[in-house]
């Protein structure tokens, strides 16, 4: 009996209190910063807090945020995926190609246009393509032991060129008889919040639970923290490593489908340089490029902060040419912060 009591006491004790833990989380400070900016902008600029502007901001960062969730899994394993922007491009184009069936054989449009099945076919094929491209990345990295940086840099060029090949440098904007349905998925809203934002919230929660409450999630952290230890524990580290790139590819494709639905058209330039913004969001949210640290809420809040700052700068009348400079400064700043924090520990 006394031993039981002893156990309970020990279990409830931790090195840090809840508050100390919270304060040591980068995503907590980013949330504070975000609230601070919103607070200031609320008073400085009336247009900022208008319903339309808030709707735009949340929708805009949702596309980046969804990709950043996939990127979080990759970065936790100490990897990097530079190809997400290009994956978005090629999957978006594939989606457009199968929606705008005029370039495909006639039997396809005859069969698929029936009852709007073609919309789901197009979405499914786009997501499948994302998973396949991710699987190629993952296989080369996990099984052939090539460097993630080089493999995904190569894939960045390959996928972008495939987007050109598939689209034949055409723009797809005729999405067939059920186009309204497709526009609604990506561009619609529920209760005044964009569908993309709802999807981001849903994925943040679901993937957050996966990381925290499944053995798969624990193994993702273990691989990033100490791959050798994970391997000695009998974890299939190669599969874990490969699978995170598949998740990243899938999430880039999900984001592509949503953004194509919202914009109502797609070209092969879709997602160009998005990898920068996605990595920035992930790192600003607290994921550590050295592996073992990160979370989906961080990806969410990192994407939100970047978009809010971008929007605020525009409203403040700062030349948009400066945006890249701010983006770059944020990436470097986030990594520097991490370094300072580690030194303290």
């Amino acid at each position: 009996m006394s031993s039981n009591k002893f156990n309970q006491e020990i279990i409830s004790k931790t090195e840090k209190t809840f508050f100390q833990k919270l304060v040591s989380e980068q995503s907590f400070w980013v949330s504070i910063a975000l609230l601070g900016i919103c607070f200031v902008m609320f008073f400085v600029e009336d247009a900022f807090s208008s319903k339309d502007n808030l709707f735009n901001i949340t929708r805009n960062f949702s596309f980046i945020g969804i990709m950043a969730i996939g990127m979080t899994f990759v970065i936790i394993t100490a990897g990097i995926d530079l190809s997400v922007g290009s994956i978005m491009g090629v999957t978006g184009v594939i989606c457009g190609l199968f929606l705008d069936a005029q370039y495909l054989p006639e039997w396809y449009s005859k069969a698929a246009y029936f009852e709007g099945v073609y919309v789901w076919v197009a979405i499914f094929l786009a997501l499948l393509a994302g998973v396949i491209v991710g699987a190629v990345n993952g296989y080369l990295i996990a099984y052939l032991k090539l460097s993630p940086f080089v493999v995904t840099l190569g894939m960045m060029a390959i996928a972008r060129s495939l987007a050109l090949v598939v689209s034949n440098n055409k723009m797809f904007y005729e999405f067939g008889p059920k186009d309204e349905m497709f526009y609604e998925i990506g561009g619609g809203s529920i209760l005044g919040v964009a569908n993309a934002t709802w999807l981001l919230i849903l994925l943040t929660i679901v993937m957050g639970l996966v990381l925290k409450f499944t053995s798969y999630g624990r193994h993702v952290y273990a691989v990033g923290s100490n791959k050798k230890a994970a391997e000695l524990s009998g974890i299939n580290t190669r599969w874990i490593e490969m699978s995170v790139y598949m998740i990243s590819g899938l999430f880039a494709a999900i984001s592509a489908v949503m953004i194509v639905g919202w914009m109502g058209s797609v070209t092969n330039a879709l997602g160009y340089t998005y990898e920068l913004r996605v990595i920035a969001a992930t790192v600003i949210g607290g994921a550590n490029l050295m592996g073992g640290v990160g979370g989906t809420f961080g990806a969410f809040i990192g994407a939100a902060l970047m978009e809010t700052i971008r929007n605020s700068l525009l409203m403040a009348g700062i030349d948009p040419y400066w945006q890249g400079t701010f983006l770059g400064l944020f990436i470097v700043g986030a990594v520097w912060l991490e370094k300072v924090k580690n030194k303290k520990n």
Partner: protein, 246 residues
């Protein structure tokens, strides 16, 4: 009863002969101390038993079956647990997560299986208590002292019911007070019928807990005898080569 029997184990890495014809037995619940200078082949031998390397030739018999481990996990499934020198822990995970790494307690039905944290915290707290360690299950390994990390690594081996535990320098990086604790743990493993192969540089450790002494020098076994028939002077002589072999 013999639990592990090594017969003429040889290992070479290219031109380097790491082990030459090493044979000895470990009995049930027996604690065997493996000594030798740096490069004598102690760790190589341990890694062969643990399934990290395959021997170039020779035979390993475990529980009367000839075994041929492809991976460490095969050895573990047969009932051989290892505490590695560098401990093989994940810094960013909690003590409990490390203890259960690769064999987490889960609830629910696939694909809705989720981790049963309360059960894992409880079980690891029990294990730490058994080790009389002050390690707390929810703490990150990153924040821990050498002794606590050791406790986590040792607690892992107690999750299953191993027949043999291999320990590579378990007392190398911890405080004096905790050395006594680790040695107590080794004795407790013996009480529970678990055999231990202990590699250590610290002569007093071996002489306190082990029953049998095996000394390697340049990949060859130069001594195998009961601790009670030996002495630290003799062991030192065997390790350095002042005494050729017994």
């Amino acid at each position: 009863m013999t639990i592990l029997s090594l017969k003429n184990i040889e290992k070479n890495f290219g031109a380097i002969q790491a082990l030459t014809g090493v044979s000895f037995d470990i009995n049930e619940a027996e604690t065997v101390g493996l000594m030798g200078d740096n490069g004598a082949g102690k760790s190589t031998l341990l890694k062969i038993i643990a399934g990290n390397f395959k021997p170039s030739s020779g035979e390993i018999v475990f529980e009367n079956n000839e075994v041929d481990f492809e991976k460490p996990i095969d050895a573990r499934k047969s009932g051989i647990e290892v505490v590695y020198q560098d401990l093989a822990l994940c810094n960013h995970l909690t003590a409990a997560s490390n203890v259960f790494l690769g064999r987490e307690i889960q609830k629910g039905v696939w694909p809705f299986k989720y981790l049963d944290y309360p059960a894992m915290f409880k079980k690891s707290a029990e294990l730490f208590e058994e080790l009389k360690s002050e390690t707390r299950p929810k703490d990150l390994v990153m924040q821990m002292s050498g002794g606590q990390r050791q406790a986590v690594a040792i607690a892992r081996t107690r999750l299953t019911d191993p027949k043999l535990v291999l320990m590579d320098e378990p007392t190398a990086a911890i405080s004096v007070r905790q050395v006594a604790e680790v040695l107590d743990l080794i004795k407790r493993l013996k009480d529970q019928g678990i055999a231990v192969l202990l590699i250590s540089h610290r002569m007093p450790d071996i002489f306190e807990v082990c029953e049998k002494l095996v000394v390697l020098r340049r990949g060859e076994k130069v001594c195998e005898k009961k601790i009670k028939d030996s002495s630290t002077e003799e062991a030192t002589g065997l390790i350095t080569g002042a005494i050729d072999r017994i």
